[in-house]
Amino acid sequence: MLTEPFTPEFLAQLEALRLRTRKEFLGSQTGSYSSPRRGTSLEFADYRRYAPGDDLRYLDWGIYARTDRLYIKVFREEVDLFAYIFIDASGSMAFPSPEQKFLPATYVALALSYVILANQDHVKLHLLQDSSGRASPFYRGRRRMTNCIEFATSASPAGLLQLGPSLGEHLKRLRRPGKAIVISDFLMPAASYQQGFNLLRAFNLDISAIQILSRVEVDPPFSRGRLALVDSETQREINYEWSDDSRREYQSRLAYHNLEIRSFCHQSGIHYSLYVTDRELSDFIFATLPATGLFK
């Protein structure tokens, strides 16, 4: 039994979506994503010289009439998709509360999972936590949505995340290239997330990055004065003088940080989108993500 926000109406809308990939992958079964292999789909790929044994149905009689040579029409093979959704489950995702950040992140992941499952593709959920983390088996078909929810909601965010090493551990167990979706707050040094994305690229994955931030992180509601701020992951503490100026400076720093991520993603061919969790989930799924090119 699915609960909010996965209502029948919401799921019906999700079924209308299909993930878009920028790369071609070798699927395991026939599906709806193009493969580098030649196959029997309707999408024309190329011509090649006829060889004995070729199916005569694919002879291009027009070329034969003009050139008196036999050419066979070659079509793309359409295969199913293997998608990997990496969810950041570090301590920072529990701020200001798991309900305000981690839960929306899992909802996004589950919504994307449902889109994939509804297309009879394969989805695998990965929890990024500490240096390793858990991963689900591949799920396929709508009925596995329940398993996805159970896996995603069984996690509780904690610990320190180093994106590169953590992704590296997960990638060691990957055998098939496909679509990788990383959901995180990306509140980490640029070198850290860049290392992670480069690892994914090295595995020939088509990457999408979804940055999740809570409203508190966008506009900290601190009253003016002295603060002792504690890092939720490292427990490092700093004394900080909070004022209107420092508030403005923080927000410009955040904007610059997000711009850096967006810029890197753009240069690296990665879909990037930002989800501030006080926004409606359906609005983000059905308006923002299609606009970034994640859906067909």
Binding site: S92, F95, R215, D219, R226, T234, N239, E241
Partner: protein, 603 residues
């Protein structure tokens, strides 16, 4: 500018306390945040010290200004104009002899007084006053600076307690009458509030002190031969003291005792079995803040032979006193009283008789006749029941008053103020008074004849009254300023004061009043010498820990005089109240404004 209440300026020391609410308010709030990466890059991280950078709002400075004005207003600032007519009142009581780092308080006061007169300059005129034995002007005419300094330097401290002066009233009246622009009271009492014209200048600090507060040399009774002395040592400090007390005579130590006095308490030391001398001195060995009260003087009790002149129509009854050891009685009839030579008698007993005037010698009046000028008698009463008596009193000690039943009495009606010793429902039966240093006792019943053991209550009373009169014969030390009564003075008699000053006694003057020095006064009367002891008689002077505060207030300005001061502290008070109102008005609004500014921050 001067401050009438400079103590209030100590409030400035408390001003830093104003920071405490801001410091505690600004103690960093501990908050967990998802990641500090953006904070370490941006903003202004503060130091890791306990307080960090103090952020003070504008309201703080408003409050600081408010408190500053309030403290200034409480310190009562005045703009002063240099006065030209001033009075300097020097406290010359005994406590001004206390030492402050080698100098007496009086010396310090004199130095301050001289510096005040120097500030006056040449047009200034000064009047000098002293406080003991009473508030009195020293100079006849207003003095110029140089003369005033000379007079001030010549003032000595008396061995007297503070005169009971209401300085606020007295100095106010003085300023009003003499048109002084300013009056300075130089004293060792701490200054409280100051007046606009009258000012207290305090010298000296609170100090611990040890003092002999009582000293007595006596016989245990009239018939005793051995002398005994007792001294009471009071410890006016906060710790126990062990000290040695020496009994001296003629500058020689007769005996000494060690005694421990508890903090804030008194201890008594008793000396017995010492040699007979005419005078005695008891002294605390060692130095303390006030040397004056470290010694005390006493005169040896008179010879155990008490010479009594009895004036009575019943000689046998009076002669019964001869049965008391040491008592000799000469009896004369009332008619022969005026002819009798009375000088050598220690006591005159008027038995059913009364003189025309109060005699110079101590006297006992027994049932005086109805028509006399000294005391009136009431109607005769049969058996009299005593209703009350003074206790403790030397005259009533050891008497069982339930057995004390005179068979005949005439209650007295005193014409002068005195002590009622024994009272009855019909009126006083025994009445005592002291006049010019001599004791007088009036009895409304007859204790004579002296029957010894056969009438014990009355006999004990008779012995008590003889002891009492014996004490009055100069044996008991008295306080300074108490007069010395000589009785009959002849030409050539001199009095030598403790300072060694010889005063020729006028034949008419039978009393010497100016006993302002502690010590032994020697009356040289022909070949005979009599001693009188006078000691500092006020323990408050010896207690240097907490002298009473002197508060002076603004006095009504005399018409036609110009004040030397312009008081403006009320304006400061008004300004501080306005600031208080402003702070009350602004502070909550500023807080609301800040909250609003924070809430409209763009996302």
């Amino acid at each position: 500018m001067e401050f009438l209440n400079p103590t209030a300026l100590l409030g400035f020391l408390a001003l830093p306390l104003l920071l405490i609410p801001y410091l505690t308010k600004k103690r960093p709030r501990r908050l967990t945040f998802s990641s500090l990466i953006l904070f370490t890059q941006s903003g202004t991280p503060t130091s890791r010290g306990p307080w960090g950078r103090i952020h003070l709002p504008p309201v703080f400075f408003l409050q600081l200004l408010l408190l500053t004005l309030l403290i200034l207003a409480l310190s009562e600032p005045v703009f002063s104009v240099r006065p030209t007519r001033i009075a300097i009142v020097l406290d010359n009581s005994a406590s001004m002899q206390a030492l402050e780092e080698g100098k007496t308080r009086l010396t310090l006061a004199q130095q301050k007084a001289e510096s005040l007169t120097q500030e006056l300059g040449s047009p200034g005129r000064v009047d000098i006053y002293t406080t003991t034995p009473r508030l009195q002007r020293v100079n006849a005419e207003p003095l110029a600076t140089v003369q005033a300094n000379r007079v001030i330097a010549g003032i000595k401290a008396y061995d007297l307690a503070d005169a009971p002066i209401d300085y606020d009233q007295s100095l106010g009246a003085l300023a009003h009458e003499q048109n002084y622009q300013r009056i300075y009271l130089m004293t060792d009492h701490p200054a409280g509030s100051q007046g606009a014209i009258t000012r207290v200048i305090s010298v000296g600090k609170a100090r611990p002190n040890l003092a002999i507060t009582a000293f007595d040399v006596r016989r245990s009774s009239i018939a005793a031969t051995r002398l005994e002395a007792s001294a009471t040592i009071s410890n006016f400090s906060s710790r126990d003291e062990k000290l040695r007390v020496a009994l001296k005579a003629n500058g020689t130590t007769l005996t000494s005792r060690d005694v421990i006095t508890r903090a804030g308490n008194a201890a008594t030391v008793v000396f017995e079995g010492f040699a007979a001398h005419p005078t005695y001195e008891v002294e605390i060995e060692g130095a303390d803040a006030l040397p004056l009260d470290n010694r005390r003087y006493a005169v040896a009790p008179a010879s155990r032979n008490l010479r009594i002149l009895a004036i009575t129509p019943r000689p046998q009854a009076a002669a019964s006193l001869k049965s008391i050891p040491g008592v000799t009685v000469d009896v004369v009839s009332p008619a022969d009283y005026e002819k009798a030579v009375r000088r050598d008698y220690a006591l005159e007993v008027f038995h059913f008789a009364a003189p025309a005037t109060l005699p110079d010698n101590p006297s006992l009046f027994i049932l005086p006749p109805e028509r006399n000028s000294i005391v009136e008698s009431g109607a005769p009463v049969g058996t009299v029941q005593v209703s009350s008596w003074r206790e403790p009193h030397e005259l009533t000690r050891y008497i069982n008053f339930s057995l004390f039943r005179p068979t005949y009495a005439r209650p007295l009606k005193p014409k002068t103020a005195g002590d009622i010793i024994i009272d009855s429902p019909n009126g006083p039966l025994a009445f005592a008074l002291e006049h010019r240093g001599a004791h007088y006792l009036f009895l409304g019943f007859d204790p004579l004849p002296y029957l010894g053991r056969e009438n014990l209550p009355m006999s004990i009373f008779t012995l008590n009254l003889l002891d009492w009169f014996l004490d009055s014969a100069g044996t008991k030390a008295q306080g300074t300023a108490e007069p010395i009564a000589f009785g009959t003075v002849e030409a050539g008699d001199t009095l030598v004061t403790p300072a060694g000053k010889k005063i020729a006694l006028n034949g008419r003057a039978t009393v010497f009043q100016d006993t302002y020095e502690q010590g032994l006064y020697e009356w040289r009367h022909g070949r005979e010498t009599r001693w009188f002891a006078r000691n500092l008689a006020d323990e408050q002077e010896s207690d240097l820990r907490t002298p009473s505060r002197i508060d002076l207030h603004d006095i009504v300005k005399a018409p036609g005089t110009s004040s030397a001061m312009f008081t403006f502290w009320p304006y400061l008070l008004i300004a501080s109240l306005l600031l208080l109102f402003l702070e009350w008005f602004i502070s909550p609004r500023m807080r609301r404004l800040m909250v609003r500014r924070r809430t409209v921050q763009p996302a």
